[in-house]
Amino acid sequence: MKMSPELKKAQENMQPGVITADGFLGDEKRSLKDIIVRDEEEMRKYGLDYEESAKLLRELMEEGRKGLGEAVTVKERWLVQTFESRGPLPCPFEDGIFKKVTAEITDKKSGEKILVSDMAIHLMESHRFLEGIGSSFRLDPEQLKKVVF
């Protein structure tokens, strides 16, 4: 599928060593456009909405921050632990700068986990990009459904 110059530039920025050491694409070799289209289908398959998912993840991260670095139980269902690292990260789509805040969200009952970051939420909400398969911060629709819905 043909990519716009903006998507081409974003895909360059997502390579390992450009913005982050391991990049945003994981093990994927396909184009950014193809990844986004594939994941739109995945989101539909699991009945997930990008904006709604982003809103819920952001709320869980905010609750997790109250633990001041220690894990905190949220709504008796989730264990959320946030981590903050030094310095900001520019978005690979070049439309914002984000603090390096990450959270590990665990469903206490099933033990299933998902790793989320401020940047990952922005990528999901504004660019419909969930990161590539194999990326640590991929918001995999199936895992998202299991852990947070």
């Binding site: 390992p16 982050t20 391991d22 001041l68 670095g69 030094r86 590990e104 640590s136």
Partner: protein
């Protein structure tokens, strides 16, 4: 054979053009030797054209950098007093307007193309690179490892509270080397080793390497000491707060004070954890508490599990801190705050301390994140 003429001609032209570009590049981008004047005290002669950060490091001058020169941490700030051109778009997000007005630059982004003058803190002249060997790795909790590095005959001089940078080599899918900062938990008198406490951060490059790849006997480069976190030489009560691997600088400071006989000073140490499985060094701290009359160790659990036998303080560490300042500490004594944790933890403790009369300028912190 005629069909070969065109491709061969194209090949020859491409080869000639490549050679010309290579030669021109070597001539145009050959800056020769250039001088870096540091603080008017030291002059280095380096090959021109390289980044300031790497040029300095090659000569044994190490500016702190948490990302290893990728321009993604904003830590390697230094003042450049010569004109090296306008700030680059890659620098701007990391600099305040005031810093930009003072020509503070990111050393990893500025190229040294001609003689330049820079200003760095004098302490950085004492920073060295150590080729260490991992002496021991111990799990102190389910997600924190205590790692001791042997300096192999070298010694490190530092004030308790300082940090070092680990040079993380490429591993697994990580293709490039990177660096991360960790506070030293060893005492300054333990000159032949450096002890670090490293908590596993999911997805973290350095912590994943330490937890899943590093073994005893491995060789590791450490750079340091860096930082300005230290106890102030006053007689004010020290109110220290940490959680998780934030224990590191306080272990160093407290055992250094005990060793040096600074026992008249009152010290309160609040340590926050979620459950008993997140607590560590409990016995060591309780022993210190019993031997040092003016030292008070207050561990607190935010979510103690039923049946875990916890009879200590419970609640968020900021709530416990607030209660103790109001009810247990002498109001007539001057107090200083010492914090080690994430920016969120620092901000929350700042609020509690200032609300209880500790001036903001007397709250010192090691913002390890």
């Amino acid at each position: 054979m005629n069909f070969l003429i065109a491709p061969v001609a194209v090949g020859v032209i491409a080869a000639v053009l490549g050679a010309v570009i290579g030669i021109v590049d070597r001539i145009v981008n050959n800056y020769g030797d250039v001088e870096i004047d540091i603080n008017g005290k030291k002059t280095l002669t380096v090959k021109g054209g390289d980044k300031l950060l790497s040029s300095l490091a090659a000569e044994g001058i190490f500016i702190p950098s948490a990302c290893g020169g990728r321009g993604s941490c904003g830590a390697c700030k230094c003042r450049v007093e010569s004109d090296v051109g306008p700030h680059l778009p890659t620098e701007v997000p990391y600099l305040t307007e005031e810093e930009m007005a003072q020509n503070v630059r990111l050393a990893c982004q500025v190229k040294v193309k001609e003689n330049i003058q820079i200003r760095i803190p004098d302490e950085l002249f004492n920073v060295k690179k150590y080729n260490t060997k991992v002496k021991s790795i111990k799990d102190v909790t389910h997600d924190i490892k205590e790692v001791v590095f042997d300096l192999q005959g070298e010694e490190i001089d530092f004030k308790a509270g300082r940090y070092v940078q680990i040079v993380v080599p490429p591993y697994g899918k990580i293709k490039g080397s990177t660096q991360r900062a960790y506070s030293m938990s060893s005492k300054p008198s333990d000159k032949g080793v450096i002890e670090l406490l490293i908590r596993l951060v999911p997805g973290g490059i350095a912590t994943t390497w330490v937890h899943n790849y590093l073994s005893e006997g491995d060789e590791v480069e450490l750079i340091g000491p860096f930082g300005d976190f230290e106890r102030r030489e006053t007689d004010a009560t020290m109110v220290c707060v940490a959680g998780g691997s934030g224990m590191a600088p306080f272990k160093s400071i407290l055992f250094d004070m005990y060793e040096k006989g600074e026992l008249d000073r009152e010290v309160w140490y609040f340590f926050g954890a979620r459950t008993t499985k997140d607590l560590f060094y409990l016995e060591e701290m309780k022993e210190l508490d019993s031997k040092w009359e003016n030292f008070h160790f207050v561990p607190a659990l935010s979510e103690p599990q039923e049946g875990a036998g916890w009879d200590g303080e419970t609640g968020l560490i900021t709530d416990v801190l607030d209660r103790y300042i109001k009810e247990k500490m002498r109001a007539d004594r001057d107090k200083e705050g010492y914090l080690c944790g994430s920016p969120g933890m620092i901000a929350a403790c700042n609020n509690v301390m200032t609300a209880n009369g500790i001036p903001l300028e007397k709250i010192y912190y090691d913002k390890f994140a």
